[in-house]
Symmetry: C2
Subunit: 324 residues, 2 copies
């Protein structure tokens, strides 16, 4: 694989919805010239204004090193796949539909070099399945971003069965140059890491709630005030080191036998889906919302994201301590 040095890597983002636009901004902020490809005809103008609006938000958060105009000038929005021909790295973030993704990959692959990296933002479809849709599947890798992409250090890199580890490590390196703290999952497990761990929490919490042992509100409270007071600094396991207790094994043995092993879907989740409950998006969710409250949560999340990003940045130096 011939790859340019990080600063000269030619990058395209295909799919310019909310996530794709946010990724474009993150990559612009990281110093790249970006080709943004809007695959749906007529989407170009909306995508352009969305990206400029996000750039302005990034500016208001103080994360732009240069003037807004500099970044806008380094952005090329197009509807034509021909424009991505020279790219080294193509980030796909179209809808989670395998048929649509297949069409998109077919077009990408017919224009870029056979060894250009193709990365999918999917969080729903296994990388091993998707890479089967691409010629030279060894250059295909999962690169999963979090929202807002330019305000988080999260980046989840996942290998499919056929992904070349050299490619994955190249992307890991790229991700670091974008100011991320990328994780590398060498095996394409269902749900990657975050989802796997969070669904283990959903299963246990919803079971306790269904049994009447606790409530949705109280489960949220313990995560906000207990877990929330250290997780951003320490993650799961360093906190165990910090607590320094050697009685965990006793607690583990006692607790593990009590944990839910059920495989059915909890009723509360079925109910939400049958009601088409989209939470703050349609004021129907696990909690009740007025329009104003839903809006207040959306605004709060944007502010909180900025606040926690800045807070976490103050503690980055510490994270150089290595695992045993």
């Amino acid at each position: 694989m011939k790859i340019n040095s990080n600063s000269n890597v030619q990058i395209a983002v295909v799919g310019l919805g909310l996530m794709g636009s946010s990724i474009v901004v993150s990559l612009l902020v990281a110093g790249h010239q970006i080709i943004g490809l809007a695959p749906i005809p007529g989407e170009k103008d909306a995508a352009t204004s969305r990206i400029i609006s996000l750039l302005k938000h990034a500016d208001s958060c103080g994360i732009l090193q240069r003037e807004l105009g500099y970044y806008i000038q380094r952005l090329h929005i197009t509807e034509s796949y021909e424009d991505i021909a020279g790219c080294d790295y193509v980030q796909e973030c179209v809808v989670e539909d395998k048929v649509i993704k297949e069409q998109v990959y077919h077009k990408i692959a017919s224009y870029v070099r056979p060894d250009a990296v193709i990365a999918s933002n999917t969080s729903a479809i296994p990388i091993s399945e998707l890479q089967g849709l691409v010629p030279n599947p060894q250059r295909f890798v999962g690169v999963h971003w979090a929202e807002p992409a330019y305000m988080t250090r999260f980046l989840e890199i996942t290998c499919g069965e056929k992904t070349d580890l050299v490619i994955a490590e190249y992307v890991l390196n790229l991700g670091q140059s974008w100011g991320k703290e990328p994780t590398l999952l060498k095996k394409d497990i269902r749900g990657f890491i975050t989802n796997r761990l969070m669904y283990a929490v959903y299963r246990e919490a919803l079971t306790l709630i269904e049994q009447g042992d606790t409530t949705l509100e109280d489960a949220d409270k313990v995560f906000r005030y207990d877990v929330g007071s250290w997780i951003t600094l320490m993650g799961i396991f360093r906190y165990l080191d910090f607590m320094g207790r050697t009685d965990y094994i006793n607690t583990y043995e006692k607790l593990i036998a009590k944990l839910s092993n059920r495989s059915d879907v909890p009723a509360i989740m079925e109910k939400m889906v049958s009601q088409n409950a989209k939470g703050t998006h349609n004021c129907n969710g696990l909690y009740s919302y007025t329009e104003e409250e839903a809006q207040a949560w959306n605004e709060a999340f944007a502010r909180f994201n900025k606040d926690i990003y800045e807070l976490a940045s103050k503690y980055r130096r510490l994270l150089l301590t290595k695992v045993v």
Copy 2:
């Protein structure tokens, strides 16, 4: 039960180790006069200086409403159980040893009114077991604090089988008057809520790590940067509302079948225990530490706790939105 109004509630804290001292400070800050009982002879002076030192820390964090001297003057440290005779609420936080706790309860109960609330900070022994050691067990309740008690809104209230719900709700109300956001667990489940949910995470994460699917460091990264960027604001379930997706049920169905249901102890945890690995406390943990690094983590945690407490406080108003 005859109970004074919140501001006049007479409170004693029995057991003045790190946790007990921190609880004393939290209750002083909340406006109470406090009797601190050091049950181990000769512990009184060390406890006094520890509490004053924590009060100074609270002062440096800007959470004292009055001068330091005011709080010190409202604190009475004693080794004599006679001094707690007039108390309405006794918070026990001695070591997690049932035999020692039984001796302590016996002494407490022989001095306080038969209907005085006795609360245990235990996180290891079931409340239903402990309350059997106390005359009039209906006034016994679990009140579990987090560290540092004066810098978190976390408070976990747990009923044993015999706890009078009126007592639990009285304590819930008291907890709110202390500036906490208490949770109420009406049934004494193993591990309460936080531990139950976190052990579900440990099981899943350690299984993925043992299988070589991910690493300790990467599991920590996803929690720091992904989960960590919203959990303090939203908790587990409000974030689902915010994401507003109705495809969770599909993901749930696919993922749930993959989650670990094992009941054995992961090897990594056995190894830590056999090595007496106390993490930052003896520079032997899941991560490696020099003395300086361990110290840096301890200092960082104290600073982070203050930072995240202040950050979370900015968003408290929003949390009035009610559950459906």
